[in-house]
């Protein structure tokens, strides 16, 4: 018998078996089953991801449209359904969602202002050792250039449900990026107003902003900074990436003079870029730093190890904040 490895292992992110309740393990699937009961226009599709909407399929089998492993076709079919009055939710693996279908999304959905929702599960490095083909670290950079698309990246299960509920009636396209490696941040999700960033903590020394798994990291890092160094962080939940909270960002950045962004996404084109562009346009003299994935060939491995390798840990985020403020 071989020795059992003690290091971090790949977690089964493809099934919800042994993963707490559906609400915490698969909030996006949980939410659409709830919403589907309230709105008959909702239909779902899933490119070989039907397990993620199993609850919806059980409740509304006639409103699930199986299209096989064909993401581009799914987006265009959804556009046709939306033009005829339906509200399609497409579930995909993130690398094969916004990345593979960017042109179909732009031309058929975004340009035509159609209410299609693309839910990208397994974003960032969630598929870890399956290889870089299965990474999605460029999707926000692409999605946020789409004129009419609302871009969301919830940071915990409750906020996933809350954000999906608050955008259910939106008469336009929505991209919802699901981070798998997140724990609970909120006991109760905030009421999200469109394009506004809930504030988790008030502080005057440094602004910390995160989305997806970055949200839990900035919240935890803020605790460390305060308890060890009395550094007071102003902490925001950037679940809304388009539209985003320019007013809150500029007010906080102007006050603290230091902004650190944290995201499971490339350093190019994501939240870090949003912040840099915004403070640059406003002419603020603010120091910026990013904890994000470098724009080089990424390593392959188990997600939990990759997060440590790339510094997506509370400790490293706190260190980056200390360096930024010079303490």
């Amino acid at each position: 018998m071989t020795e059992q490895p003690t290091e971090k292992k790949m977690v089964d992110v493809f099934s919800d078996v042994d993963r707490e309740t559906a609400m915490t393990a698969n909030p996006a699937g949980y939410a659409v089953a709830e919403l589907g009961a309230e709105d008959e226009r909702i239909v779902t599709m899933a490119a070989d991801m039907s397990n993620t909407v199993a609850d919806f399929i059980a409740k509304f089998p006639e409103r699930y449209i199986e299209l096989g492993i064909a993401e581009t076709n799914s987006v265009s079919v959804a556009a046709g359904l939306a033009s005829a009055g339906f509200l399609p939710y497409i579930y995909s693996m993130s690398p094969f969602g916004m990345l593979k279908t960017a042109e179909q999304w732009r031309t058929d959905v975004d340009y035509n202002h159609l209410p299609v929702r693309l839910v990208g599960r397994l974003s960032g490095l969630a598929m870890g050792y399956f290889g870089t083909s299965h990474y999605a670290v460029e999707d926000i950079a692409i999605a946020r250039t789409m004129n009419n698309t609302t871009v969301l990246s919830p940071g915990d299960p409750a906020s996933t449900v809350s954000l999906m509920r608050s955008t259910a009636d939106l008469d336009g396209p929505v991209y919802i990026r699901i981070a798998e490696g997140v724990g609970k941040v909120y006991d109760q999700a905030p009421e999200y107003a469109r394009g506004q960033w809930p504030r988790l903590r008030h502080g005057g020394d440094v602004t910390l902003i995160g989305h997806g798994m970055g949200l839990g990291l900035v919240a935890a890092a803020a605790e460390l900074l305060f308890s060890r160094d009395s550094i007071e962080a102003d902490v925001f939940d950037a679940a809304y990436l388009r539209p985003y909270d320019e007013q809150a960002l500029l007010a906080s950045a102007g006050r603290t003079g230091h902004v650190l962004t944290v995201e499971e996404h490339s350093v190019v084109g994501g939240l870090g870029s949003i912040v840099a562009e915004t403070v640059g346009r406003a002419g603020l003299a603010v120091k910026l730093a990013q904890v994000a994935l470098p724009d080089v060939d990424l390593e392959v491995g188990v997600p939990a190890e990759l997060y440590e390798y790339y510094g997506l840990t509370p400790g490293n985020v706190a260190d980056a904040a200390r360096r930024l403020v010079g303490r």
């Binding site: 239909v43 096989g68 265009s76 046709g80 033009s83 005829a84 042109e103 179909q104 058929d108 035509n112």
Partner: protein
């Protein structure tokens, strides 16, 4: 006016449809002259198909462009929209004044159609390979909402080299979408040369058949063939999507374009050529009066 429905199978003679196709050609060269550049020969190969669809086959309500029960028409080969604009104006979707704005900044009508701007456009196009998928979605929507509209998608033959077309073809037959009709304007040419010299798309009929489609193969510039095929579409309940492979001639209706279809995929007639084209077409229209 607003609730006037143009039903399927409207009475119109074959001679009138032939003249309508030529009228589309005349209108097209006028619009292209106005814009400065345009797609002549691929619009001309589609002229009889557009004439028969809009003046006989489709169920339409021009005064209510978003009427839920209208038949849908998607122009997969969006670059022939120039031939559709005068038709939509003539049927009353928008004032004829729209045509004067063609090609200008701010115009609702341009070289490719935009559903957000032009009344009567059921879906935007311009990126080849998308519209059969979109049409599949509309046909599914008809079934889900219990409506009996049909969805027609006009594709080019070069467009069939796009892989997404075959994803849609698989899905449409899987769902037995008898309410979906693809029409391939098989004029044999793409922008850069003969379609099947680039990548062979034949035998088209067998390919669609093997994907579970009912195939009709006709001369797409022959009005009686086009008219009777559209009149006698299978009952949607038969459960197979239908493809009409319309064998056409790129540049049909203008002799020098038929001889050099490639040269007239995209271009601009000079004054002498323009006069020649007008003379050739109007002479033919006089004959069939």
């Amino acid at each position: 006016m607003s609730s006037l429905t143009l039903d399927r199978g409207r009475p119109v003679t074959d001679a009138e449809l032939r003249r309508r196709a030529d009228w589309i050609r005349l209108q097209t060269i006028g619009l292209i002259a106005q814009a400065g550049l345009g797609h002549y020969s691929s619009t001309f190969s589609s002229a009889e198909l557009i004439a028969a669809l809009y003046y006989r086959a489709l169920r339409l309500r021009p005064g209510e462009p978003r009427w839920a029960d209208r038949d849908r028409f998607l122009l997969g080969k969006g670059h022939v929209a120039t031939g559709l604009w005068p038709v939509l104006a003539d049927l009353g979707y928008y004032p004829a004044d729209y045509l004067k704005q063609f090609g200008k900044v701010g115009s609702p009508i341009n070289d490719h159609p935009n559903m957000k701007l032009a009344p009567g456009i059921d879906f935007s196009s311009g990126s080849l390979g998308h519209n059969l998928s979109v049409g599949t979605g509309m046909a599914l929507a008809a079934r889900l909402s219990g409506r009996d509209y049909r969805t027609f998608v006009l594709t080019g033959d070069g467009e069939l080299q796009e892989g997404q077309v075959w994803e849609a073809a698989m899905a449409a037959s899987h769902y037995k979408l008898g309410n979906l009709i693809a029409i391939v304007d098989a004029n044999g040419f793409s922008g850069a040369g003969p379609t099947s010299q680039a990548i062979n798309i034949e035998p088209l009929g067998k390919r669609f058949e093997s994907f579970g489609w009912t195939v009709r193969e006709i001369d797409g510039n022959d009005i009686p063939a086009v008219r009777s095929t559209l009149d006698e579409l299978p009952d949607p309940a038969a459960g197979e999507p239908v493809v009409i492979i319309a064998r056409t001639r790129k540049g049909h209706g203008v002799e020098f374009m038929e001889k050099q279809p490639q040269a007239w995929h995209l271009g601009l007639l000079n004054a002498e050529q323009y006069a020649d084209v007008v003379a050739e077409i109007t002479a033919r229209m006089e004959l069939t009066k």
